[in-house]
Symmetry: C2
Subunit: 331 residues, 2 copies
C-alpha cells in the first residue's frame, strides 16, 4: 500500500494534469531569464486569457504581430533577404552577362557592398527588383527554398533558418497555446518570408504580411500563372505597418513586438487600442552572443522607438540580460 | 437484462459517438437536395480529408475561397453595398447640401437609379468614394454596423444579414469541421464585409479579402488613426482575385466558389493546381424563391464562367434544383 501511494505520488508530480501541460505547470519560456521583462509578458498573457480578469480578451481578438528581421531572426551583418538578393544576382549574371557592366550590379558582383550602402534605398530597391521579379510566384518560391537549403550565415556558418531567436520561438508557441493568432508584419518581402515562416516559426503563409511587388495574372498555354513584375506594390514599413495590418487582418492587434524605428507606428497603433495591450521591443545588447546596436545602426536603427517605448511603458527586451539562450541548439 | 440491452441499444442509436457528431453520422448539408451536386461536394471533401486517399491534402493546405455577392448572400435587386452607399448618400447630403446639386448624386438622391446604371462603373466608383472615404477605419466600421442594424431588404423586408444562403452557411461549417480554412474573396469592399463576416458566416476579418481604398496612418492629438482616402487601392475582381489571394493568403486554394464572370480567374487559378480540386458556381435559377439570372444580367453576369465551368467539370450549383431551402428561417 505504501508502494502504491509512492507510485501515485510520483505519477502526480511527473505527469501533466489532464488536458496537457498548462502554462502554470511548466515554464513556457525556459530561455527567458527570470526578471521584470519575462514577468511583464507572462502577466499580460495571464490577464487577457483569464475569463475572470477585467482585462480578459475573447480568443478571436487575441492578435499578436511580430516584426521579422531583428525581432524573430538576426539581421546582421545584413538583412538575410539582401544576402539572398546578392547570391541571386551572381546566378543571374551568368545568364545575363550585361548585368556585370551596369551599376550598382557591377560593384556588388565584385564584392563591393559599400557602393550599395552608399546608393541608399534606391540602389537596394534596384537590386531587389532585379533579383525578385520576372518569374512566376511558384518559380520564385522554389528559388528561395533552394537558396535556404544551401546558403550559410557568414558569421555562424549556420543555415539562415538557424538564425531565429529561441526565446521568440518559445514566445510564439506560448501565445498560440494561449489562444493567440500570431502574425508577421515585416518590411521584408512577403513572398520571401512565406517560404520558411511555417517551418521556422509555425506561422502559416496567410499570417505573414510584408512588402509586395506587383503580380499579374496571365493565362498561358500551360495554364494560369501569376507573374512577378519589377514594380513596388506596397512597402510594409513605418506608417505602412498599421496600414498593412488593417488591410490583411482588419482588426487591431493587442500585442506587438518589434526592434527598430520601422516598428514605431505598429507599436503606437497596437498600444493605443482600448483595454490592456503589450508593446515590446527587442533591444540588441549582446555583442558576444549576437550583436549590439541601436541608435547609430544603418540596419535596424532603434532610436525614436526606444525613447517612446521607455516613456510609454513598453516592454524593452534586453537581449543580453533577458535571454538565457539566443539561438536554438545546432542540430 | 433484456431491458438493459434495450436501453444500451437505444443509447447507441441516439447518442453521438465519442468525439461528437462526425460528418458520416449526420448530414452536414441538410438544405442541399440529394443529387450529383451535393455528391460532388461531399465526395471532394471526403477524398481530401481521408489520410488513406491518394487525394489527401494536409490540413494546413485546405484553403477554400468564396465570392460573397451572389455566392454567400443575395445581390439583387442591387449589390447590398450599393444600397448602403445610397442610404449613406442621403445621410451625407444633410451635412453637405452641395451634393444635391452635383451629378450623379442629384439623380440618386431623387431616387433615379437609372442614371447611375447608365453612368457605368465610373459613376458607381464615384458614389462609393463619396460614401466610403473621409472617415477613420473605426468610424467607418461603426457606420456600417449601424446601417446593418436598421436597413431592410426591399423585397423581403429582412435585415440584409438575413439574405445569406442557408445551404452555403452549412457548406462553410462543413468545410471548417473538415479542417478547411474558409476565406471570402470578393469584389466588395473589405472594410464593409468585415463588419458582418464573422457573425454572418463565421469568417473572421483576417480571412476576408476584398477591394480596398487607400488608408493613411495619422498621429492625432487623440492618438493614432487610419484615415480612409477617396482613392482606389485595389480592385479584387476578375484577374484581381488570384492576385488578392496570392497577396493575402500566399497559397493556392483547393476549392473555390463563385457565381459570376468576376470569379472566372479565381476558379481557373484554383482548379489548375496539382491534386484534386473543386471549382463550383452558384447558378441563380430560382425566380420564385430568389432570382433567376445569368448571361444578360448587369449584376452578377454569368456567361464565360458558365461555359468554362461546364467544359472543365466544375460543379454547377442549380439553386432551384439543388437547394431545399434558400434563406435561413426568419427569427
Amino acid at each position: 500500500m505504501r508502494r502504491l501511494a509512492f507510485l501515485l505520488a510520483t505519477l502526480a508530480v511527473t505527469l501533466p494534469p489532464a488536458g496537457g501541460l498548462s502554462a502554470q505547470s511548466a515554464d513556457p519560456l525556459p530561455s527567458w531569464n527570470e526578471g521584470p521583462t519575462k514577468q511583464q509578458i507572462v502577466s499580460f498573457v495571464e490577464a487577457v486569457t483569464d475569463a475572470d480578469s477585467p482585462d480578459f480578451v475573447p480568443e478571436a481578438e487575441r492578435i499578436a504581430v511580430f516584426d521579422n528581421d531583428g525581432t524573430l531572426w538576426a539581421e546582421q551583418p545584413m538583412y538575410i533577404q539582401l544576402a539572398f538578393a546578392i547570391d541571386r544576382l551572381h546566378t543571374l549574371a551568368k545568364e545575363k552577362p550585361e548585368l556585370k557592366e551596369k551599376e550598382p550590379y557591377r560593384s556588388i558582383l565584385n564584392g563591393d557592398l559599400k557602393s550599395l550602402a552608399a546608393g541608399g534605398e534606391h540602389a537596394i530597391l534596384e537590386v531587389l527588383m532585379a533579383t525578385h521579379a520576372d518569374t512566376t510566384t511558384d518559380q520564385f518560391s522554389a528559388i528561395v527554398a533552394d537558396w535556404l537549403e544551401t546558403a550559410r550565415h557568414p558569421k555562424t556558418d549556420r543555415p539562415y533558418t538557424g538564425m531565429v531567436y529561441q526565446p521568440m520561438l518559445e514566445l510564439l508557441a506560448y501565445l498560440r497555446a494561449s489562444g493567440f493568432k500570431t502574425f508577421i508584419v515585416s518590411g521584408g518581402g512577403v513572398a520571401f518570408m512565406r517560404v520558411f515562416s511555417e517551418k521556422a516559426y509555425g506561422i502559416p503563409p496567410e499570417q505573414v504580411i510584408g512588402s509586395t511587388i506587383v503580380t499579374k495574372f496571365e493565362m498561358r498555354a500551360s495554364g494560369p500563372v501569376l507573374v512577378r513584375l519589377p514594380k513596388i506594390d506596397f512597402i510594409d514599413d513605418k506608417e505602412g505597418k498599421p496600414v498593412g495590418i488593417n488591410r490583411n487582418i482588419g482588426r487591431r492587434p493587442i500585442a506587438a513586438f518589434g526592434n527598430s524605428d520601422g516598428d514605431l507606428q505598429m507599436l503606437q497603433w497596437t498600444t493605443a487600442g482600448p483595454g490592456r495591450r503589450l508593446g515590446a521591443i527587442v533591444h540588441h545588447t549582446d555583442a558576444e552572443r549576437e550583436w549590439a546596436y541601436d541608435r547609430d545602426s544603418h540596419i535596424g536603427r532603434l532610436d525614436k522607438a526606444l525613447d517612446e517605448g521607455r516613456n510609454d511603458g513598453w516592454t524593452i527586451i534586453d537581449m543580453k540580460q533577458d535571454w538565457a539562450q539566443v539561438f536554438p541548439p545546432r542540430n
